[in-house]
């Protein structure tokens, strides 16, 4: 990302512009600072404070007590810019500064940028929020400034001071440290006379997201600036009668991607040729890059990490940020080497690719903490509430610190909860998916339906096809390591009282949850599309008996579903045909053009289905900047 140059120049010029004409330093003010009233000037006394009415202060004149942030969200902190000034200490849908948690690795040293005590190149600077202490060129000898960071923010941020030699870490969590307890907490920075006169360019980086609404740190960072004379007397001016200027910046939230996100890459384990072939076909149709993972012993790629992003206004006000992969707390073996965060830090962490772990204890949690149980409802609104960036939804369980983290992000809260306790694995993706639709809402809900599956099989039976087999060529293990045929006839399935009973239990749970979702999301009947699925018993709950086609990978209008291996009647798999007729046709106006989703099937039987998962469980899509058409800072949340 080299678009840093413009913004970098603007920031630096802004910082130094104030002082560039002051005293005996009278060199050049950058032109980018000249847009504000009064503008920066190149002459003596050109403090760039025109907007504040302090430009051209004569020696001994009014003190310049001015902190500037990117209040107008154009990516630059511009002294003299009335819009930056207006947004310096507030935050609403039109103005206010923010900052990123800098968890990517721009210098590719496999250490997150917020964890080391250096600026990791020009691209790293792009991830920092600019702050300017406007210079007071005519400050008297002995004048000293004090910049103070609010105490609650000290552990959450680092503030860097630009120097001729580079950057000094001066405020917040100082030192080479990953954990705040290992950092040196620093809340106050003394600024000498030369810097008071010249002005200072600062950069703020977040170390961590807001983790809980109960934390002392609200996610808002406050900085105050004051100047004292040689005797220590606080100086004032007409605009700052208390001698203090204050700015605030809000931490950018982590935002969970949803099925309607504009995906660019999809990750999948490279351990099943038929599966990868199906996913690859769908990815190609969606113009999405398939990244095959071949160095990790967990094929449930959806579960052990979750992609979100964080962003703030970058150059030109466009969203700038990074993809952030949130790791599941536990791995499939003892020791740190099995933890998902280990793989992520080794293999994913990089420029604009960040890693995150919100759990308090490694190897805590259970199946509910897998990310197939955490999703985002696409943007919607009801009479009661608006969710312009979507709404986080989770199933049963989930570690309290994870839930607290989701709530603390705010923009996709309050979280919606679905009951998944009746399922063996216990994930929301086992019976629901959100897909694009040409409708006012822009999406609809697919929901698993035992009713639909049984009705379809009963019709086939009534039409004289009861002896037709399904799951042809498919197998499952018996207890004695024999790979036995899973093939059954329609008659056999419909006469299986246990599978009918378990499917009925599933339908009861789904019907109850359907009522809940209609109430919460305001869905109409035609916004819920049933996907035929039979259930059976797992160890501690129910699990899909027929390949769970609702557990799908959605990329744009392309859906990759589990091949259902249904009965072939009149040359067509009736499960596939049912999907094409309703999900893949204009009947429910699915897809962005309303013509239906573009369905491809992947054979997930051997490696996923018989191990209690399907296509969604084995894949994980992500996206890059700008991440979304919705910018969180404009959402009023």
């Amino acid at each position: 990302m080299r678009r840093s140059a413009v913004r970098w120049a603007a920031v630096m010029a802004a910082a130094l512009g104030a002082g560039c004409g002051g005293g005996d330093e009278g060199t050049t003010a950058a032109q980018q600072t000249g847009s504000g009233a009064g503008g920066a000037t190149t002459g003596a006394g050109g403090a760039g404070q025109g907007g504040a009415g302090q430009g051209g202060a004569a020696s001994g004149g009014d003190p310049v007590i001015d902190l500037v942030v990117d209040g107008n969200r154009d990516g630059v902190a511009t002294p003299g810019d009335a819009a930056d000034e207006a947004g310096k200490a507030t935050f609403d849908e039109t103005q206010g500064a923010s900052f990123l948690v800098n968890l990517d690795d721009d210098d590719k040293d496999k250490k997150r940028d917020a964890d080391d005590a250096k600026i990791n190149g020009d691209d790293d600077v792009l991830d920092l929020a600019p702050i300017v202490i406007v210079g007071w060129p005519t400050a008297p000898d002995g004048a000293k400034g004090t910049l103070t960071l609010d105490e609650a923010s000290v552990g959450a941020v680092r503030i860097w001071k630009k120097t001729a030699a580079g950057y000094d870490l001066v405020l917040g969590s100082v030192g080479e440290c990953t954990s705040a307890k290992d950092c040196t907490p620093t809340a106050t920075l003394a600024i000498g006379t030369d810097d008071v006169r010249a002005g200072v360019s600062l950069f703020l980086e977040g170390r961590h997201f807001r983790m809980s609404t109960k934390d002392a740190w609200t996610g808002d960072v406050s900085l105050t600036w004051s100047i004292a004379d040689a005797e220590g007397k606080k100086l004032t001016n007409a605009k700052r009668p208390d001698g203090t200027d204050k700015v605030s910046l809000r931490v950018a939230p982590w935002i969970l991607l949803g099925n309607l996100s504009p995906f660019g890459t999809v990750h999948a384990a490279d351990d099943s040729l038929p599966f990868v072939k199906g996913v690859s076909k769908g990815a190609a149709a969606a113009n999405v890059t398939l990244h095959k993972i071949s160095n990790w012993g967990d094929q449930w790629v959806q579960d052990w990490m979750q992609f979100g992003y964080t962003s703030f206004p970058g150059a030109g006000g466009k969203a700038h940020g990074m993809s952030v992969a949130n790791a599941r707390p536990w791995g499939r073996g003892d020791g740190d080497g099995y933890l998902p965060i280990t793989w992520l830090n080794k293999n994913y962490l990089g420029p604009d690719k960040a890693t995150l772990a919100v759990y308090k204890k490694a190897n805590s949690g259970d199946s509910y903490d897998s990310h197939g149980n955490h999703d985002s409802v696409p943007p919607y609104e009801t009479a009661a509430a608006k969710y312009p960036a979507g709404r986080i939804v989770t199933g049963s369980g989930v570690l309290p610190e994870t839930l607290a983290f989701y709530e603390a992000q705010g923009v996709q809260a309050p979280r919606l909860t679905m009951n998944t306790s009746w399922l063996d694995v216990g994930h929301i993706d086992e019976y629901t998916s959100f897909v694009p639709a040409k409708s006012k809402r822009g999406w609809k809900l697919l929901i698993a339906s035992p009713n639909a599956a049984i009705a379809m099989l009963q019709k086939a039976q009534a039409d004289g096809h009861g002896a037709v087999e399904m799951f042809i060529g498919k197998h499952a293990w018996d207890a004695n390591d024999k790979w036995v045929s899973a093939t059954v006839t329609i008659d056999h399935v419909l006469a299986d009282k246990d599978r009918m009973a378990y499917s009925q239990q599933a339908q009861v749970q789904i019907d109850e949850e359907r009522v809940h979702l209609v109430d919460e999301l305001g869905l109409a009947d035609d916004e819920i599309v049933e996907v035929p699925t039979l259930f059976e018993k797992g160890y501690q709950g129910l699990v899909a008996y027929t390949p769970g086609t609702v557990n799908l990978l959605q990329m744009g209008d392309v859906s990759v579903m589990a091949d259902p291996f249904g009965p072939i009647i009149d040359g067509a798999d009736i499960f596939q045909k049912d999907l094409f007729d309703r999900v893949g046709s204009p009947q429910f106006a699915l897809g962005s053009d309303g013509q239906g989703l573009k369905i491809t099937f992947a054979d997930d039987w051997d490696v996923y289905h018989i191990l209690e998962g399907e296509v969604h469980c084995g894949t994980n899509p992500e996206t890059a900047a700008p991440f979304s058409s919705v910018t969180w800072w404009e959402t009023k949340r």
Partner: protein, 311 residues
Amino acid sequence: MSTWITKAAVAATLLFTASAARADGLAARTADVAEPARGALAGAIAADRAARPDEYDALGRVRGLRPEVYQKRRKPTPNVGPELARLGPGALLPMLDALAFHAPALEGGGTEVERSALVVGLIDAVGALRDGRSGPVLRAVLEGALAAQDASVAAAAAEAVGKLCGDADLATLIGHAKASDPLRVASIRGLGECRRIESAERLAALIGAASDDDARLLAAALAGVGSRFVWQASGPAAAPQGLAVRAVAARALVSAFARRPAARGRLGAAIQAVAHPDTVGLLGDARRGADADTAAAIDRLQHDLARSLSR
């Protein structure tokens, strides 16, 4: 490692601490299997074991208990019920033997979690066979689970007993469905598997006086007893019995739906599961004289019912 394994381990420890002292099988003492079934089974098992000892020994090394197998599952816990069921009816006697007569030696000793999974898997697989010979063993396992305070085993055993649903099985479940009985929840679920008019009537009586939480549990059980799907699977000959059972379930559920706003989500879903032909009329009767909220809820349920039956 993780919470669910910890919970399972604690439960399993309780079970096997107790069973080590008391049980001859994995889940019950031989002496707890009622006579004369005990003697008959012991004889049959001895003869069968002599004829095919490998079938018995194999239960100590079932595939799904191996960590390299179950660690690949989406939920990485051992689960052996389905793979034991695939062994078919020929595995009944070896499985009963393992449960109540001779605990098999697990390959590598097995962890508590693996042993617990084997017990639950054996119970599930035995229950699915619906062979009356297993009743005395499953009932002994159910009582043994009470002593061992193992909820997983109790739930599996009650469900399996419900599937058998002979007179003794039904009596056991009804006996434990009483208020304050430690096996009440499991037994109510078991009654949901027992598709007899007596089971439906017992559940209907219980839901009439249930708390909201209990109403949800009982609604699920009534949905099971009256399941439209299961009665359809039972064939035309069972249809008259099915209609009678479903009528009992439908009446109880509609009545509870009208009286219990807090449990309406589950009750409505259960009413749809039963889908007795008289349901629309029952709802109409309940709507008369109902308050506005109840009337609206009934209207919505009727709409949902029509939708779910339209496929």
